[in-house]
Every structure is written in C-alpha cells, then in structure tokens.
Subunit: 147 residues, 2 copies
C-alpha cells in the first residue's frame, strides 16, 4: 500500500472518530490541500477539482473546509486579500504574502523566536485573554513580481 493511500486512510479514521461522514468530496478537498504548497483558497480548490468532480459546487467546498477546520485537519490563513486560504499543515508556522499578486508561501528554516510557553502565559496575564493560537504574517513582493 502506498504512503499516499495510508495517509488518506488515516484521515478517514479521524473523521469517523468524530462522527463525521466520510464522503468523496471531503476526501478530495483534503487531498488537494495535502498535496499543495500554495495555500489555495476556496475558488482555487474548486477549479482544481472541477475536471475530476464536475458536479461539485462551491458551497460544498465552503462547508467542507469549515468541517476540516473544526476537526483540526486544516487551518485557515487570512492575509487580507479578500478570500481565505487554507493549509493542511496545521503546525504553527509563519507565512509570507505578496502584496502584488497575493501569493502565499511558507517560511522555512528561519529561527523565529516568539511564541514559547512562557510568552503565552505572559500574554494571558497581561491581557486577561485565554490564548488559543497565533499567526505571524510577513508581507512583501515575491520573486515573480520583481519583474
């Protein structure tokens, strides 16, 4: 059995364990996210799936990403470009977005200090909030947009 198939089997387990039905649409949307590095938004997922699933509707993708998010299989990114992007990598990692074309990339292998346990505690004490998650975004011009 291929690694890819194994991954998908695991996702099925996760969904079933949460009493959420496993459907072809959900597997397909998750698969797109898992196999992409470009943090697609709903419309990009829609267009990607169109050839293989011509009947799938935009509303289904909206609902599916909501379900996958609730279950913790994906996270959403909002860089302020108007639409929400999604990421199957649910670890807390920084992103950089191009203010020209909207492209969103991961920032790898850069030692970004913040966000340890002590910091969280400190913020909770100072603000009175209970901290649940964080997002660090950088903005700039991507290589492609540098003419």
């Amino acid at each position: 059995m291929l690694k890819e198939e194994l991954k998908m089997k695991n996702i099925e387990q996760v969904l079933r364990s949460k009493k959420i039905k496993v459907t072809p649409q959900r597997m397909a949307v998750y698969s797109v996210l898992k196999n992409s590095t470009n943090h697609p938004n709903v419309d990009m997922i829609y267009k990607k799936l169109k050839p293989e699933y011509p009947a799938m509707s935009l509303a289904t993708i909206y609902k599916t990403v909501e379900v996958l998010k609730q279950v913790g299989l994906i996270q959403e990114l909002n860089t302020g470009e108007g639409s929400i992007r999604y990421d199957a990598n649910t670890s807390n990692h920084p992103h950089i977005a191009c203010i020209e074309c909207g492209r969103v990339d991961d920032i790898h292998d850069v030692n970004i200090p913040p966000c340890g346990g002590e910091l969280k505690t400190e913020i909770e004490e100072k603000t009175g909030y209970t901290v649940q998650k964080q997002q660090l975004y950088f903005f700039g011009i991507c290589p492609d947009c540098h003419k």
Copy 2:
C-alpha cells in the same frame, strides 16, 4: 492651544504636504481612530460619527481610511472576522483578537522577540521576497467572553 488641537494641526500639515486636501470628514475619521483603543472597523467609525456628521456616508469612510493608510497615518488590521479594522498607532505591535466577540486589543509590555533587522534579511534570502511589513496576531477568548 490644547495638545489635542496641536495634534490635529500636525495631521493637516501631513496631508497638505502630500497634496491631499484637508476636509472635515478626514479630520473626523482620523480623530476617531486617534482617540480610540478598540481598533474600530468602518462600520464602527460610521456609527461613532453619525451623531455629529449625519450626512457622512459609508463610502466616504472607506475612501478616507484608504487615504489615511496610503499616507501612513494609520494601519489596517485583519484578524479574519470579515471586516478590516484600523489603528492610528502605526508602530509594529502585536494584537490579540477574541474569537468569540471579535474584540481586538493591543498587547503591551510583552517582550516579543521576532522581527529584528537580521531576521528580515534572513527571510528575504530564504524566500526571495522583499519584506515590507509584518503582523503578529494572537487569538483567544477575551475576559468579557469568559462569562
């Protein structure tokens, strides 16, 4: 002359120096932002100004915040709640947003390490982007929403 009036005179200078006309609406919108700590969105600014400026339209506020942003007098925050919030404090400081009620607060007096000059350079080398700005958001439950 009061401090408050002095501030506003300075804003007039900034606008005039950029060949941007000084209007009551612009001064009013800026004043709301300068005198608030809750990072209001367009609708909150609109409602705040309604009593004193009953004729002011939403479109005017949208246009005004865009102008103030371009001139560098305010910055925008996007916590993913659907609408954009604005902040007359243009320094690079972290925010925390309530995932329950949407409230957005500053995080003061917490030593958050990232984002020095070397880090920016490192990110630019690793990603090929030109980095222009950054945003650090924390998300959680605010004191009020803890019942």
